[in-house]
Subunit: 202 residues, 2 copies
C-alpha cells in the first residue's frame, strides 16, 4: 500500500464535504479526520492549519465556478446561447456539488478579503466581449436599455437563488426532495425565456 498522495487527497475530499456543509466556523478538524478515516495529526502534517486547509477548499470551490462562467461570457456565442449555457452550467454544478454555491457565498460574506485576494491574484474580470454584446443588442433595438452588470446578475440570481435557499423553498412550498428537483428542472427551461423576454424593448 502507500499510493503516494492518497492520504492528502482523502483529507482534501473530506475537508470539502465538511467545510461545504458546515462552513469554516461549524467545521471541526476531528470531523474531517473521521470523515477521511485518518488520524487528526495528518491534517496538520499535510495542511499545517485549519485555515490553510480551508483556503485550499475555498479556492478550489471558486475555481470550479468562476473560470467556466468567465469562459462562457467571453466566447463567440450569441447572448441567448450564453444565457442557456450559464443556466445549464449552474444546474450541473448543483447536481455535482449541491452545497458549493451556498458555501462560497457565505464564506465570501464572512471574509471578503479572502475572495478579494483571489480576484486580484487571478485577474478575474468580466470579458469585454460580453459588455460589447449587450451594448450591440441595445443599439440594434433588440434589447432595452440595461447595464451588462444588471443583465448578468439577473441570470445568476435566477439560477443560484433557488439553490442557495433550497431549504427555504422546500419549507415555504412544502416540497420534498423530489418536488424540489422537479422545480429546478422546470426552471432550467424557464429561465432563458424569462431573462431574454424580460429585456426586450418595451
Amino acid at each position: 500500500m502507500g499510493l503516494e498522495k492518497e492520504t492528502e487527497e482523502k483529507i482534501f475530499i473530506a475537508a470539502q464535504e465538511v467545510f461545504q456543509k458546515k462552513g469554516f466556523d461549524g467545521a471541526r478538524m476531528q470531523e474531517i479526520a473521521d470523515q477521511a478515516d485518518i488520524n487528526k495529526s495528518m491534517l496538520h502534517y499535510y495542511y499545517r492549519s485549519k485555515d490553510k486547509l480551508f483556503m485550499a477548499v475555498f479556492q478550489a470551490g471558486i475555481k470550479k465556478i468562476l473560470p467556466k462562467l468567465i469562459g462562457v461570457l467571453g466566447s463567440e456565442k450569441t447572448l441567448e446561447e450564453k444565457v442557456v449555457q450559464i443556466v445549464d452550467f449552474y444546474y450541473y454544478i448543483f447536481k455535482v456539488n449541491p452545497n458549493l454555491p451556498a458555501f462560497v457565498i457565505h464564506e465570501m460574506n464572512m471574509h471578503p478579503e479572502r475572495f478579494h485576494q483571489f480576484i486580484v491574484s487571478t485577474h478575474v474580470q468580466i470579458p469585454q466581449k460580453f459588455n460589447e454584446q449587450v451594448e450591440e443588442e441595445i443599439s440594434a433595438g433588440r434589447m432595452m436599455e440595461i447595464k451588462s452588470e444588471q443583465f448578468l446578475i439577473n441570470i445568476v440570481s435566477m439560477c443560484m437563488m433557488p439553490v442557495i435557499a433550497k431549504k427555504m423553498v422546500q419549507g415555504i412550498f412544502g416540497f420534498d426532495e423530489s418536488d424540489y428537483k422537479n422545480f429546478l428542472k422546470e426552471r432550467k427551461k424557464l429561465i432563458p425565456e424569462l431573462i431574454m423576454k424580460g429585456v426586450k424593448p418595451s
Copy 2:
C-alpha cells in the same frame, strides 16, 4: 435607572448584530456581552443558553420578512402592484437590516428543522389568492403558462440574490460601497419590468 427590560433588550439587540453578522457558529457569547456592554452571565440569566438566545433572534428575523411577504401576496392588489411592493419591501429590509437575508438563508440551510418548526407552528403558507391571480392572468392570455411558485421565486431571487451575494457582486465588478448602493437602486426600477415582461405570452 432601572428601566425595567432595558438589559434584556440590550442583550437582544447585541445578539442580533453579532448573530446576523457571524452566524451561530461564528458568534461568541462574550462578544455579545461586550457589544451589549454587560456581564456575560446576564446572557444566561435572561436567555438560559446560546441556543435559546439564538432562536429568539432567528425567529424574530423570519418574522420581519415572512408575514409581510404573505400579506402582500394575499392582498387585493394586481399582480404587477404586488411585484412592485415586494421589490420595495426587500430593499427596505436591506436598508434597515443588511445582513438579515443572508443570515436567515444560511441558518435555514444549517438547521432546516428550526425553520420547519416555525412554518408548522405559525401555519405559514402562500395565500391562495396569489395562485388564483396567476392562473387568471394565464387563462386571460396576459401571461405565459407558469406556476405561481416559479413566478414567486423569480421575484424573490431577483431581489435577494444581489443582497445575499453582496461581496461577490462587489468583488466581481470592482464596486465600492457607493457603486453597490447605486446598483441596487437601479434594480429597484428594473426588476418589476423584467419580471412582468418576462412572463408575457410568447
